[in-house]
Every structure is written in C-alpha cells, then in structure tokens.
C-alpha cells in the first residue's frame, strides 16, 4: 500500500478536530462546570496536561506505544525522539498515511486522555502535583495500554476490540479519575456550582464536533467506515442527550440544560469503542443505554459511595467507555467491519475478549494510579492548603481571576 492523498487529508483534518477537543472544548466544558473562583485553574489543568503529554509522546511515548512489540507488553525505544523518521515516510501501522501524520494524530489522543482525568480533581489539587501525575500517568498507564490494544500488544492478539478509545481513552482515564478522587479526598465545598453553563454548552458542542475526528478519524482513512463511524457517533450523542434529559424530568421534575449536555457526552463516550463496528440501529440502542447507565452512575452510584469525582469523569467517561466496549460485542454488524456481535450471529465470541480487556485495563489502571498518587503525595503533596481552596485556586495559585471587577 502506498500513501493515499485523500486519507491524509481526512486524518490531518481529524487531528485538528481532536486537538480542538482538548483546547478549547474540554477546557470550556470543565471550566464552565467549576466554581468561578477556580475555573482558570481547571482550564489550565486541561491544557498543561495536553502540553506535557504531547511532549512525552514525541520523546518516548510514540515509541513505547507503537514501536516494535516487546513481548506483547510494550513498544521498543526505536523511535526515541522520533529518531530516524523522515517526513516522507509512510507509517508502519497505516501505510496509506504519512508516518508524521500517524504520530501527530495519535498524539492528540494521548494528550486528551490525560486531560480528561483532570475533571475529577478540580478545585483542590496542587498544580505541580497535577503536572507530575500527568507525566507519570501518561508514561505508565496510557503508553502501555495504547500498545496493548492499538500497538500490536497482547490484548489485540487476544482479539479485544476498541475502535477509538473506549478502553484506551475512556476506561483508563475514568477509572483512574475515580481512584485519584478517592485518594485526593472530597473538596471542602463538595458540590457543583457551575461558573457558566453557557460555556458548558459551547464546550459540549465543540466536543461533539471534535468527535467526528476522534471516531471518524480512527478509521485511519477516508472510507465507508470513517463516514459510518462519524454518523453513528452523532446518532448516539443526540439520543443520549435526549434520554438523559427525560430521565431528569421524570426523577427531578425539571429538564436541565446540564442534563441534556451531559447525556450528549455520555452518548459520545459510549459509542466510541463501538463506532467503527455498529450501524445506525446499534447506535440508537447504544445512545439510550449510555444515558440510562451513566445517569445511574452519576446520580445514584456517586451519591451512595460519596466519592468526590467532581465533574463525573468516572460516571460519564469510565462507565460510558466500559459500557460501549461491552455493547460492541452485542451490536457489531458484519456489514460495517466484518465483526459479528451476538445479535448478528456471532454468539458470545466477541464478548470474552471484550470482558477480559476491560478487566485487565481496569485493574492495571487502579494499581498504577494508586502508586502514582502515592509517589506524588510523597514528593509534592496532593492538595492545596485549606484557605487556598476556600479562597479559590485562581488567585491562590495563578494570581488571576476569570472575571475582574473594576472596584
């Protein structure tokens, strides 16, 4: 196979889309949900994680994820600092694409995955602690797991499927967000007081837009699967939002804007692993289930166990990603990408590798996150001082305010 211009056009476009998902989309989405006094800190957590992870990706992350496989566990260091790669080379993992483009596209995935976790730690974490956690977590969680599933590691050998990151992106970041939030402890004011729901609306819209590149781009070419993935992604999104809003209306007597936006994100996260394997019908069912299951996780599970996953990274992304990876085994339609789910005559053949993948990635994320948080606590300390937390992180840490008054 040789370089295909149309494929490169689409993937370079998708790369820009996924970049937009971090900055500004996720920064706005999380910033709008944070209390006004700490919203800049939240936005900076997203962006600084993007910077750190992107750098590490070039330094050794790409090599660890996509370098020559070493025992199914990790990639070799042959591409350290992108050593020996020419801009004219084709990517070994996708020979229709330029190597640089493949690295660039995958870089935006690594970066947003780390940034996603930030939502669970807002309004109380030391900025330096977050920077160290970002670096350690990208190195020891994201790069290996990306290798296991996408880089030719043992999970891909086992047949575990994850089209655009239900396990690699959403499960890893969601579960680590939960573990980290528990270790970090509850905020002094552990309630959601969104600084600006209109910013959340803009963030939601831009995330949705960016997801065309995230899922559509994961086809790694301009083909039927790319179009189908983008289409089913949008279907799951609007159905997820609509159903979530309805659930709220029934349970709390009011349809909230935040419920509508949250359901859209739940639909997007849940369809992600399945987006290259299911058709529009599967996407509708996934949209409905995404809203039902994530709603339960955010509203019931979180309140029962009282952990302070502040912006519901686990409830929406972790639970959504896992749900989607399971539903893939039910609704995958051979028409789309030659994978047969339970409802298309494939029996449970795809279910076992999915469940095994979910369990292994989940356990690994828990263990490594505990270690990373312990180390960071020893070296830097995890939490800001009590008075800084109450005063707001923006002034205490950054010497800035999101909105200034003239007197």
């Amino acid at each position: 196979m040789s370089i295909v211009a149309a494929d490169n056009v689409w993937i370079l476009t998708s790369t820009a889309f996924v970049l937009l998902m971090s900055m500004p989309a996720l920064a706005l989405f999380y910033g709008g949900l944070t209390k006004t006094k700490s919203m800049l800190n939240t936005m900076m957590m997203v962006v600084v994680a993007f910077c750190i992870t992107s750098f590490l990706w070039l330094a050794y992350g790409y090599s660890l994820s996509f370098g020559d496989d070493l025992g199914g566990v990790i990639g070799s260091l042959k591409y350290l600092f992108l050593n020996g790669i020419s801009p004219k080379d084709a990517a070994p993992a996708a020979e229709n694409l330029y190597h640089y483009l493949f690295i660039f596209f995958q870089m935006t995935f690594a970066a947003i995955t780390v940034a996603l976790m930030a939502g669970a730690f807002v309004e109380r974490m030391k900025f330096g602690a977050w920077m160290l956690i970002s670096a350690l977590w990208a190195t020891f969680v994201y790069f290996p797991v990306a290798h296991w599933i996408w880089g030719g590691g043992f999970l891909s050998d086992m047949g575990t499927l994850d089209f655009a990151g239900g396990l690699v992106v959403h499960e890893t970041s969601g579960i680590s967000a939960l573990v980290g939030a528990i270790m970090l402890g509850r905020r002094k004011e552990a309630l959601m007081q969104p600084s600006s729901l209109p910013l959340v609306a803009i963030g939601t819209g831009l995330l949705w837009f960016g997801w065309f590149g995230f899922n559509g781009g994961s086809a790694l070419g301009m083909n039927a699967q790319a179009v189908s993935a983008a289409f089913v992604t949008t279907i799951a999104a609007f159905i997820g939002g609509f159903v979530w809003m309805g659930l709220e209306w029934i349970k709390y007597k009011k349809p909230t804007s935040l419920g509508l936006f949250t359901g859209i994100i739940a639909g997007l996260a849940t369809i992600t692993p399945a987006s290259g394997f299911v058709d529009v019908f599967g996407a509708m069912v996934i949209g409905v289930l995404a809203a039902l299951i994530c709603f339960w996780a955010v509203v019931s599970l979180k309140n029962r166990f009282k952990y302070d996953d502040s912006l519901d990274v686990f409830g929406v992304h972790g639970v959504g990603g896992i749900t989607g990876a399971i539903l893939l085994a039910l609704f995958a339609k051979p028409d789309v990408a030659d994978v047969k789910g339970l409802f298309y005559g494939g029996g449970l053949s795809q279910m076992w590798p999915q469940l095994a993948g979910i369990a292994i990635v989940g356990i690994y994320s828990v263990v490594l996150t505990v270690v990373i948080f312990k180390i960071t606590d020893k070296i830097i300390g995890l939490r800001v001082e009590k008075d800084e937390e109450v005063e707001g992180l923006d002034e205490a840490i950054h010497g800035e305010k999101a909105y200034t008054r003239e007197f």
């Binding site: 959601m192 709220e248 309140n303």
Partner: protein, 112 residues
C-alpha cells in the same frame, strides 16, 4: 429627616422607581443584596445533586426624605413593590441626624 430602606424583589425596581419619581422623590441609592426571610431559599439541581441556595437576590433602595413625607413614600413603595406573594420584601425607617451636599455645602433638608 428619615431614611427609608426598602428591600424588594429585583424585577420590581422599575415600578418602585416610577412611583417614587411620581411622588416627587428625585434621588435614591440602590444596592444589589442577598437575603431571606419567611420565603427561605430555593434549591437547584446539578446532575441530580441538590444544592440549596439560602440567600436570594434582592434590591435594597435607600431614600432620605423629610419626616412629613415618610408615610406617603412608604405607601408608594409598598404599592409598587407588592405582588401579594411571599418574598415581596420589607421597609425599614430610621432617623437621620445630618445631611450635607458635598458640592455646595448645603445641609439637612436643603440637601435632601
């Protein structure tokens, strides 16, 4: 001289201002305040988490008037600000010892 402070619902400010102008009161000071009385607060829901807002936004109007105008002004404010529902607010009256107009140095009733 008396100071009349009225805490009212924010959307009633225009009506109260009109009523005071009609009565002949030519100046006032307003402040955005928060508080609660019998109305108590209200609840907001974010992703199903209940969050009680104890203090509700209100507007406080302050006007200083001659003693003989007090009853008329109170009546004007009360009529304009009243909706009949809980949370309409309250009016407080207190004595003022001295008033000075900074520009001219006029004092007391001439300065009101």
């Amino acid at each position: 001289m008396k100071k009349i402070e009225a805490v009212i619902k924010p959307f009633k400010l225009e009506d109260v201002k009109e009523a005071l102008l009609k009565y002949g009161i030519t100046g006032m000071t307003i402040t955005e305040v928060k508080g609660y009385g019998r109305q108590q607060g209200h609840t907001e829901f974010y992703r199903g988490a209940e969050y009680v807002v104890e203090f509700l936004p209100k507007i406080k109007i302050e006007v200083v008037v001659r003693a003989e105008d007090v009853d008329g002004v109170i009546k004007a404010i009360a009529q304009a600000a009243r909706t009949g529902k809980i949370g309409d607010g309250k009016i407080f009256v207190s004595n003022i010892e001295k008033v000075v107009r900074i520009r001219t140095g006029e004092t007391d009733e001439e300065a009101i």
